[in-house]
């Protein structure tokens, strides 16, 4: 009797139907990612890292890489009078971009950076491709993105603004960004992800970040694509000694949004701040996956994620902190809190600590619940309507994260969207 062996059938990941544009990264990176994609499946909920996020909706579609056009970006401008680069469907649109580039920095399309030695040195250096569908897809197909290089000792007084707008149906954007902050530099970057007349489109963005010695970088990120669009974002960050990296992720819309933050802290005396908030309704699904990997001693990381989930929406939080064997004297704090506003909304929250050093201070916590009804009653007993009382409570809950954003214009922009979407009135 001969045995029938069922070899695993690998269905090649073929998300892209049509692509007339060549990926612009090196042949080496492209060849590698191409061969990975040849032998890989889309992750399923059996894949640990995707346990709570079904990709069926993305997997069942085919997307097209196409340049698009957007007529008016005024409603997407988060902050005025700063150097602004606008990308549409993952391609730089110079006509829509504006402002004067501050001195000492490069902020340009990666297409113009291919011969830049800093660019070639860093691009793809830390990004894991093996078993990573979306990273590989991006690396193979990416046709554009931004390269930001903050020169040593350069201190930017105004932020740089990078806007990405998705348009048309079944479009895929493989935006690829590289940010390098040289020694003793300081910069703030605002990223906005929007859509205009886009349906069932997909942003698959990878941002690689290098924060060199004593450099300080803050990223404020607003995700506000429409409720039929998919968004997978990976930030691969490396921090050298005495550096600070802060990222504030505000997710306001999107059908499926997955944020991977991979922070490798390789130098001593670093500070890492990860703040995030997600305000969901309808059938939205938002999944924040963060990893802070403390490889060096005397560092601190703070993570605060808070979400409000309404209707049938789902939020996933998976935050991992590693403290490696020699990384003594680490203070790592992680907290995730969720408010469920409906019986049909779901939260899956999993904070994790993996500690191999002995002299560390770490804490993590996760709470999911309804609004404090005692507090609602207290406020109503003072004459506030139930609706106002609830709004006030939600506002207070979310503001805990939003107050971490220092840029007032960014905050005002977010408050405005929250007002439109939820009728909440938040203020500073």
């Amino acid at each position: 009797m001969s045995e029938i062996i069922n070899a695993p059938v690998f269905k090649k990941v073929e998300l892209i139907l049509k692509n007339e544009f060549e990926g612009v990264l090196s042949e080496e990176l492209k060849t590698k990612s191409s061969s990975i994609l040849d032998g890989i499946q889309m992750p399923t909920t059996r894949t640990e890292a995707w346990k709570y996020t079904r990709l069926g909706k993305i997997n069942n579609k085919k997307f097209t890489v196409r340049k698009g056009d957007v007529s008016d970006i005024s409603s997407f401008i988060i902050t005025k009078d700063v150097y602004t680069l606008v990308f549409v469907n993952g391609f730089l649109n110079s006509t829509l971009s504006s402002g004067t580039l501050p001195e000492g920095i490069i902020c340009q399309s990666i297409n113009e950076a291919n011969s830049d030695s800093t660019f070639t040195k860093y691009i793809g250096q830390n990004l894991r491709l093996e078993e990573e569908v979306f990273n590989s897809l991006n690396t193979l197909n990416s046709a554009d993105g931004v390269f930001i290089h903050i020169g040593s000792k350069v201190i930017l007084d105004k932020p740089l603004q990078i806007l990405h707008i998705l348009s048309e149906t079944n479009t895929i954007s493989n935006l690829r960004n590289l940010i390098v902050c040289e020694k003793n530099s300081e910069a703030k970057i605002i990223q906005g992800y929007f859509s205009e007349n886009a349906t069932d489109s997909f942003t698959n963005v990878v941002t690689e970040v290098f924060v060199e010695e004593n450099a300080h970088l803050t990223i404020d990120k607003i995700q506000y694509e429409n409720d039929s669009c998919y968004h997978v974002a990976t930030e691969q960050v490396q921090q050298e000694k005495n550096s600070t990296f802060t990222i504030n992720t505000v997710t306001l819309n999107g059908a499926i949004v997955r944020n991977n933050l991979n922070i490798e802290v390789v130098g001593q005396n670093c500070l890492t701040n990860l703040n995030g908030t997600y305000l969901l309704k309808g059938n939205q699904h938002v999944d924040n996956h963060t990893i802070v990997d403390h490889k060096a001693p005397n560092c601190e990381s703070h993570e605060l994620y808070k979400g409000v989930v309404n209707d049938q929406s789902t939020a996933v939080f998976n935050g991992k902190v590693f403290v490696r064997k020699d990384a003594q004297k680490i203070n790592a704090f992680q907290s995730n809190a969720n408010v469920l506003l409906s019986d049909e909304s779901t939260v899956n929250s999993k904070p994790e600590l993996e500690i191999y050093a002995d002299d560390v201070k770490c804490s993590h916590g996760s709470t999911t619940g309804q609004l404090d009804e005692e507090a609602v009653f207290y406020l109503r007993a003072r004459g506030l309507s139930e609706k106002s009382a609830r709004k006030l409570m939600i506002g207070a809950f979310v503001n805990d994260v939003l107050k971490k954003i220092e840029n007032e214009e960014v905050k005002t922009f977010i408050f405005e969207i929250l007002h439109q979407r939820f009728d909440w009135e938040l203020s500073n």
Partner: protein, 250 residues
């Protein structure tokens, strides 16, 4: 001002108020005393509109309105105020901002214009002085990190801001040292007028040295079993509640 007739209320199927009667007229101060668990806070909660309680019998008339028919916020807008026995902390909600919103919703309910920012600030300054509440505390998150005494003072500050017709003070004196007690009592006295009324729920006679009641009631096992004047409070202080029990079983 308020007429409570034969009020019965239960929670989780357990009857707590068992036919309570009480009438309070404008300008009066009533004290309600009684042993732990008698139902004093339950009465306050039921009047404020806490939804966990089931009213099985009885009526409450509040200035011609059926109080039990009103939502919690509408009771407040009609002029009812409850100073909570255990004021809760509400992190992130600014005391001042919420009071301003509350005041404006009350004004809107009464067909009045919203208060201007300037007038509001003047009001805050004036009213926080009444209970000697640090204006800095007044603008922090509701009760967050407040000491026990500060929480109670904040309750009376809010009362002063909202200027209610009927204030129910639920053990506002508990946990206060003698100085704080005097400040809180003074605040309540300053707010007294011929048009408003106060129900003071307390365990201790000492508060009644400062807030002089027109009537003292004993609430026992869900009912008012005895009513007297301020001397009754002294009696209770001296003799406890056992003699009432005995009197009742006669």
């Amino acid at each position: 001002m308020i007429t409570i007739k034969n009020l019965h209320a239960s929670i989780d199927g357990k009857e707590i108020l068992k036919g309570l009667n009480l009438e309070v007229k404008p300008g009066e101060v009533h004290a309600i005393m009684g042993p732990n668990g008698a139902g004093k806070s339950t009465l306050a909660s039921v009047l404020a509109g806490r939804e966990e309680y089931e009213i099985t019998e009885g009526t409450v008339d509040f200035d011609g309105k059926d109080l039990l028919d009103l939502k919690t916020e509408d009771r407040a807008r009609e002029g009812l105020f409850l100073a909570f026995q255990y004021p809760i902390e509400i992190p992130g909600v600014s005391n001042i901002n919420f009071l301003r919103a509350a005041l404006n919703e009350i004004r809107e309910y009464r067909g009045e214009e919203p208060i201007s920012a300037k007038d509001f600030l003047i009001l805050v300054r004036e009213k926080s002085a009444i209970v000697e509440l640090d204006p800095k505390l007044a603008s922090r998150s509701v009760n967050e990190g407040f000491s026990g005494g500060e929480k109670k003072r904040n309750e009376i500050f809010q009362m002063a801001m909202l200027n209610p017709k009927l204030a129910i003070l639920d053990e506002t004196d508990s946990g206060l040292d003698i100085d704080a007690l005097r400040i809180v009592a003074n605040g309540v006295n300053k707010l007294k007028s011929k048009d408003n009324a106060t129900i003071v729920i307390t365990h201790y006679q000492r508060l009644l040295d400062y807030i002089i009641p027109d009537f003292v009631h004993v609430l026992y096992d869900g009912k008012i079993v005895k009513t007297g004047t301020k001397e009754l409070a002294l009696d209770l202080e001296e003799r406890g509640y056992d003699w009432i029990k005995e009197e009742m079983s006669l």
